[in-house]
Amino acid sequence: MTPASQPIQRPPDAKLLVIEKNGRITHMPRVSFAGLLRPGDLVVANDATALPASLRGVHSPTGWPVEVRLAGRRSLDEVCCFTAIVFGAGDFRSRTEDRPAPPRLKPGDRLTLGPLSGTIERLLDHPRLVDLHLDGPADAIWSGLARHGRPIQYAYVPVPLELWDAWSLVAGTPVAFEPPSAGFALDWRTLERIRSRDAAFATLTHTAGISSTGDMELDLRLPFDEPYRISKSTASAVESARAHGSRIIAIGTTVVRALEHAASQDGRVHAGDGLATQRIGPGSQLRVVDAILTGVHAPGTSHHQLLQAFADGATLRRAGKELDAMSYRTHEFGDSVLIERKPCGNRQATRTRPTL
C-alpha cells in the first residue's frame, strides 16, 4: 500500500474494495458507490471540516520555534481551549516521527503563534501534550486561525495543503482537527444518486481528531475524546431507518464513533451533544451502523482497530493482501473500502437484512 501523495479529493481513478457481510471481496470504481445502495438505506456523513489547526510560532520563554497542532477540545462551541501537541522546529516536510522535540514546556509558558497568543495551562502526562488556552475574544481567535493556521499535514503529501484541500464538498462547520476524509468521496452528484435510489442522506458533526502524533506512546492514546453533535432530523432519520430494518451506512470512522456512542445509553440514537470516549475494536458490538465507507487503513492504527468491529481479523488480512496486490492508495487522498458488518448473534435473531 502506498500513500496518496497528491491532494486530490476525488481522483477519477479512485478504487473501492467492498467486503460483503459474508466475507466476499470485490473491487469497483469508487464512483459506483451509490449504485450499491438500496431503497431505504441511510447514508450518514460527518459534516465537520478541519480547523486550520497547525500553528507556527515561538515558545516565548526560550525563543525557540515551535509548531502547535490543535488536537482535541471539550465542546463544539468554545474556541479558546484546546488539547494540543507541540513540535520543535520544522514543519510537515519532516516525518512526524523525525521531528525534534519542543523546548521543555511548563504550565504558564506563553506561546506566540502569528497573530494569536496563548498560555500552556498544563502538561498532560507527556512532554509535548498540553492544554492550551488561546487569548482574546472568540472572533479574534477565529480570525487568527483563519489567517495564520494551516491544515495539519504529513510528509507523504509534499505540497503545502490549502484550506480547500482539506474541506470536503459536504463539510459545514470547521470544528475538527483533521478532515473527516472518508467524506472526500462524496460530491453533489453522488448525493443526487443517493436520492434517486430512494436512499437518504444525513450528517452529524464530529470533531475528528488527529490521526498521528509522531510519538508511539502518544499514538497509543488516540483517538482522544471527541465531542459530537447529532441534530434532531438526523437522529430521527437514523431511528426511522432502524425501525424499517434499513441499513445505516457510515461515511468514515468518526460517524461510527458518534452514532455508536449516542446509542450506548439505551440503544437509541438521541439528538444532542455528546463526547465520544469509547474505543471501538474487535470486541465491540455495533448497535447502529451496518456498513462503513472508509479510507485504506494500515494494520496497527486506531482506524484499523475500529474496522475489526465490522469484519474479523482473517477477513481484513485477506482484504489487506488484495489492497496491496491491487496497489490501493492509503491516507486521506487515497482509495476507499466499504465493509458491511459481519453477522452477529443478537441482531440477526431479531432483524433480517438485505445483503449488499
Partner: protein, 258 residues
C-alpha cells in the same frame, strides 16, 4: 408559515432571543460596511438574527462591528481566491453553521461608467471577480453548511443581489450588467440543482438606492428620488423570510428552526 426566529425582538413569542441565543437565524452578508449591506446588517440584527458580515477594509469592519454589538465582522475580499476559505472558516465558525448567505458585495466596473469599447480588461475582470466568481466561490465553500441547515430546518437560502442591468442592456453599464447577468443565471441554475437539497437560491433587484455605489455610477443624481437602503433591506429580509416559510416542508414545526 411564519418563522418566529426572525420576528423582531419584542414580538409576542414566549422565548426571547436573549435567553435562547440558539434560536437566532444565522445570516452572513458580504459588503456589509456600507450601503445596502450595512442596512442588511442592521435589519437582521433588529430581527434577532446572528449576523456575520464581510468587507475589505479591516478598519471599517472593526468600526461597524464595534457600533453593532453582536455582529461578527470579518475582513476579507470576496474577489480574491485566497481570501474565500479564511472568510468561510470565520463565517461558519463564528456563527456555528449558516442558514442564510447574502452575496451583496458588488463592483461597478469602470467608474465613471464607460462604454464597453473604452473599458479596461482589468476593470471588466474585477467586476467578474467580485460579482460572479466571488459569490460562486463563497457559496461553494459554504454549501455544506447551508445544506446541513436545510436538512435540519427544512430550508436554507442564498440570496444574490441583482440589478435591472442584469436584464436590460444599458449603454455604459457593460461590465456591471454582464457580470450581474452571469450572477442571475448562476442563481437560477444553482436553484434548479439544489432545491432538492433544501438550499434555495433567490435573485433580488433592490432598485436604485441612495448608496455609495449609486453615487459612483451616477455622480449628479438626486439622492432624494432614490430608495433608502433601509427600505431595500427590509424587502430583502422579507423575501428571505417568505422563501424560508414557503420552503420549510409541512410538518416541520417552528421549533425545528434553531
Amino acid at each position: 408559515m411564519q418563522d418566529k426566529s426572525i420576528f423582531p425582538p419584542g414580538a409576542s413569542t414566549e422565548e426571547t432571543l436573549a435567553t435562547h441565543p440558539d434560536a437566532a437565524l444565522r445570516v452572513a452578508i458580504t459588503g456589509g460596511t456600507s450601503g445596502l449591506g450595512l442596512a442588511l446588517v442592521r435589519e437582521f440584527l433588529a430581527r434577532g438574527a446572528s449576523v456575520a458580515f464581510v468587507a475589505r477594509g479591516a478598519e471599517r469592519v472593526d468600526r461597524v462591528a464595534r457600533e453593532h454589538p453582536g455582529a461578527h465582522g470579518i475582513a476579507g475580499d470576496v474577489s480574491a481566491k485566497n481570501d474565500i476559505y479564511p472568510i468561510a472558516v470565520q463565517i461558519a465558525g463564528e456563527l456555528g453553521g449558516l442558514d442564510v448567505l447574502i452575496n451583496n458585495a458588488s463592483d461597478l466596473g469602470p467608474a465613471p461608467l464607460a462604454l464597453l469599447g473604452d473599458t479596461d480588461c482589468t476593470e471588466f475582470e474585477r467586476a467578474l471577480a467580485t460579482n460572479v466568481l466571488g459569490p460562486f466561490r463563497l457559496t461553494k465553500a459554504l454549501l455544506g453548511a447551508l445544506a446541513a441547515s436545510a436538512r435540519e430546518n427544512g430550508a436554507a437560502v442564498v440570496l444574490n443581489i441583482s440589478s435591472d442591468a442584469a436584464i436590460d442592456a444599458y449603454p455604459g453599464w457593460g461590465a456591471y450588467g454582464a457580470s450581474k447577468a452571469a450572477l442571475l443565471h448562476l442563481t437560477r441554475i444553482w436553484n434548479e440543482e439544489l432545491a432538492s437539497e433544501g438550499v434555495h437560491f433567490v435573485s433580488l433587484d433592490p432598485g436604485d438606492m441612495d448608496t455609495p455605489m449609486h453615487a459612483l455610477a451616477v455622480p449628479d443624481g438626486n439622492p432624494a428620488v432614490l430608495k433608502r437602503p433601509e427600505t431595500a433591506a427590509r424587502e430583502v429580509a422579507d423575501a428571505i423570510t417568505a422563501t424560508l416559510a414557503r420552503c420549510v416542508p409541512a410538518g416541520a414545526t417552528e421549533g425545528d428552526r434553531r
